[in-house]
């Protein structure tokens, strides 16, 4: 049964299972990934089936987790690390930025460090502080890392396979509020390229660029706009480092208007890089400046305010209207 309808969380679980089955060097490490199956159950049942040597509950120290994962990778393993929530990756930031990202270049290519760091990220789940953040910019700026994020169960399945197979360190951001969204997953299909964006909906009047949790929001925006007679194209980036500027450029050359949407704060966010580069590439095509919709320059707010903080249908539509008004 190659095609199944699965929630995104289950697609990730199946993907990890497949990786453990296929490659004896794959190990899973993190907090509560064993009996509990992780706080989101992404590793559910894996320790039972693959043992404590392959699915490893670690001491409670993120720098230790990533640092030992690097050591395991140097020994020939392919560790897949789970960080429990976005806000808890920072104790490991030094190991990621100064060691994981740079070790291959430091060795002039002699070693590889194929570590995948899975991070459930983003808001919208009514959580307490540190459980709803979108720190992707802080990794994309760092050379030596790749940063990807799926938006659908099918992509979740395949992109995780590809991330684990990659010889580079990959920061794999999982849109936690979409964990329970279902979609078809064809485990036999030939996957696309990990770092290639996908046109999720075609349109002619304006391009919406999004990734992870905001892809669904942008598809809803496009549907709502269609009722008003506006044709929006939605591009799902999939990858934040590298960014697939070619796909965005092709779309913008057609639509001539671009709005970038992400949950992360706008200031120094992905939208800035996309706006800068696409403006350079499409200077004579753009009818309006690239507009950005995202989080504010404020700590992620308490849950009862998150709907105001996060880009929602109306805020994106507002930006679309402003872009179309140029």
């Amino acid at each position: 049964m190659a095609v199944q309808t699965l929630p995104l969380a289950k697609a990730l679980n199946e993907s990890l299972r497949k990786a453990l089955e296929t490659d004896p060097k794959v190990v899973i490490m993190g907090l509560d990934v064993g009996k509990l199956g992780g706080v989101f159950r992404i590793t559910d049942g894996l320790q039972k089936d693959f043992g404590e040597d392959r699915v490893i509950d670690t001491p409670l120290a993120e720098s230790g987790i990533v640092g030992t994962a690097i050591g395991l990778a140097l020994r020939g393993y392919r560790p897949v690390v789970e960080i429990q929530f976005d806000g808890f990756v920072f104790p490991a930031y030094d190991q990621i930025v100064t060691q994981l990202a740079k070790m291959r270049a430091r060795s002039l290519g002699a070693v590889k460090v194929p570590v995948v760091i899975r991070i459930p990220y983003g808001g919208g789940i009514g959580a307490v502080e540190h459980h709803s953040e979108s720190p992707e910019s802080l990794f994309a700026h760092v050379a030596g890392l790749k940063v990807v994020t799926p938006a659908t169960p099918s992509d979740a399945y395949w992109m995780l396979q590809q991330a684990i197979q990659s010889d580079d360190p990959v920061i794999f951001f999982e849109p936690k509020r979409r964990y329970w969204d279902k979609g078809e997953v064809d485990t036999d299909a030939i996957p696309g390229e990990l770092h290639k964006a996908r046109v999720a909906r075609e349109g002619t009047d304006l391009t919406l660029v999004a990734y992870g949790p905001m892809v669904k929001t942008c598809l809803e925006v496009a549907a709502a706009a269609a009722e008003e007679g506006k044709s929006l194209e939605v591009v799902d980036l999939r990858s934040i480092s590298p960014l697939d500027f070619d796909t965005i450029q092709a779309s913008v050359e057609k639509t001539r208007r671009l709005v970038v949407v992400h949950e992360a704060p706008v200031f120094f966010g992905s939208g800035a890089e996309i706006a800068a580069r696409i403006t350079e590439r499409c200077f004579y095509h753009l009818e309006a400046p690239v507009l950005r919709v995202g989080g504010y320059h404020a700590p992620y707010p308490p849950a009862r305010l998150e709907e105001e903080y996060l880009p929602g249908l109306d805020r994106v539509l507002d930006a679309v209207d402003r872009a179309l008004a140029y």
Partner: protein
């Protein structure tokens, strides 16, 4: 000369450590003679040459006070758990079972001492006089910490594990600089003990001889991970290697917790530097209301610990000694009900903050971008008919 750990066990090569039952691994389980206990689980007072003096002055009235603290804290906690089930709170981290550790240590403090809690120190907050309903704001999602730390010398709850131990150490360094004789009490869990920050706080506090007491509630679980995933020797032993004393206390014995914490705070006040207190206790409830402990631990373990309940233990002692009569327990029950009712009412009435609060207090001295975004947000919200946002 090789220094062997005092309780080394036969180590294994495999990464997997199997946990069959609580207490089966003698070196991390708490039954050893190193445990300071003043009240047995049956409520018998046992003598302790080192620590009796620290509670010699405790009057029956104060004992009843400790009992009341524990009962009301537990009641508050139960109310919060049920408010979460009713959807009034997004989450709750219960302290069930840890009342003695928190009340015993919390009541050892002086007003001018300062406390740095984790997210589970509801009992300590109670001792500090923080209005318990204030603790609920972050769990209801209306704020990230709803009290002024300086009103009660009780810092905000800290979620990133271990961070607060460094704040406590720095604060204590400041106390030294000021020439004050206050002390600082920093809480953390068995899981957090593995964090670099906690160990760095041991380094700094030892080097600066800071007046800080580290109070580790070893409730034996970090979500689903048993203590064996954090250490293979008792945690209190960690301190020695950093150059200061560690002590393990029965965390379900409020009198022992009071005595041991008083002793440690006194050391701090007298310029004798940090102490690590490991309160050996048990997390009776789930990690939080989101957690499902049936996936990783046996009911039998919980039952063993029910026999060591901190409240029943003190009650037995009070009754044995004739320190409390039926009227006391009845009145407390009434007070307890009233507290529950009060908490329910306050929580349900808790206002959702103004939307614009997103932009408040990001900076003390203002920030142009925040001002700009605030203005844009206001204009955007005003653009909807009636001013109502999406």
């Amino acid at each position: 000369m090789t220094v062997e750990s005092t309780a080394a066990r036969k180590p294994r090569r495999s990464a997997g450590t199997k946990r069959t039952s609580a207490g089966s691994t003698p070196d991390t389980a708490g039954a050893g003679p190193e445990l300071v206990q003043l009240l047995t689980p049956e409520g018998k007072r046992v003598k302790n040459a080192d620590y009796d003096k620290y509670v010699a002055d405790v009057t029956p009235d104060e004992l009843r006070g400790l009992y009341r603290d524990m009962v009301l804290t537990r009641r508050f906690d139960a109310e919060a758990t049920s408010l979460q089930r009713q959807g009034e709170l997004g989450l709750w981290a219960s302290l069930l079972g840890q009342e003695a550790a928190q009340i015993g240590s919390g009541r050892a403090l002086r007003d001018d001492d300062y406390v740095f809690p984790t997210y589970r120190e509801h009992g300590v907050a109670w001792c500090r006089g923080v209005d318990p309903t204030n603790l609920l704001g972050m769990f209801r999602g209306v704020n990230n910490g709803g009290w002024d730390p300086n009103s009660n010398n009780f810092h905000l709850y800290t979620i990133v594990l271990g961070s607060q131990t460094l704040h406590a150490t720095g604060y204590a360094m400041g106390v030294s600089k000021d020439g004050a004789d206050s002390a600082v009490l920093a809480y953390f869990g068995d899981g957090a003990s593995s964090q670099g920050d906690v160990n760095e706080s041991f380094v700094f506090s030892a080097v600066y001889n800071a007046p800080v007491v580290f109070f580790c509630q070893n409730n034996q679980w970090a979500i689903s991970e048993p203590i064996e995933k954090q250490t293979r020797v008792p945690l209190y032993q960690r301190a020695r290697g950093f150059g200061f004393p560690g002590v393990r206390v029965d965390g379900n014995d409020v009198l022992a917790c009071l005595a041991v914490t008083r002793a440690a705070l006194e050391r701090a006040r007298h310029g004798e530097g940090p102490t690590l207190v490991e309160a050996f206790t048990y997390r009776m409830a789930a990690h939080t209301t989101s957690d499902d402990p049936t996936r990783y631990r046996r009911d039998a373990e919980r039952e063993e610990w029910e026999a060591k309940d901190p409240i029943l233990r003190l009650r037995a002692y009070l009754e044995n000694e004739g320190h409390a009569d039926a009227a006391f327990f009845e009145e407390l029950e009434t007070e307890s009900e009233a507290l529950g009712k009060h908490v329910r009412e306050v929580v349900r009435a808790m206002p959702v903050p103004e939307h614009m609060a997103i932009f408040d207090n990001v900076y003390a001295d203002g920030h142009a971008l925040v001002d700009e975004e605030r203005a844009q947000f206001a204009a955007y919200q005003a653009s909807f008919t009636g001013g109502e946002a999406e």
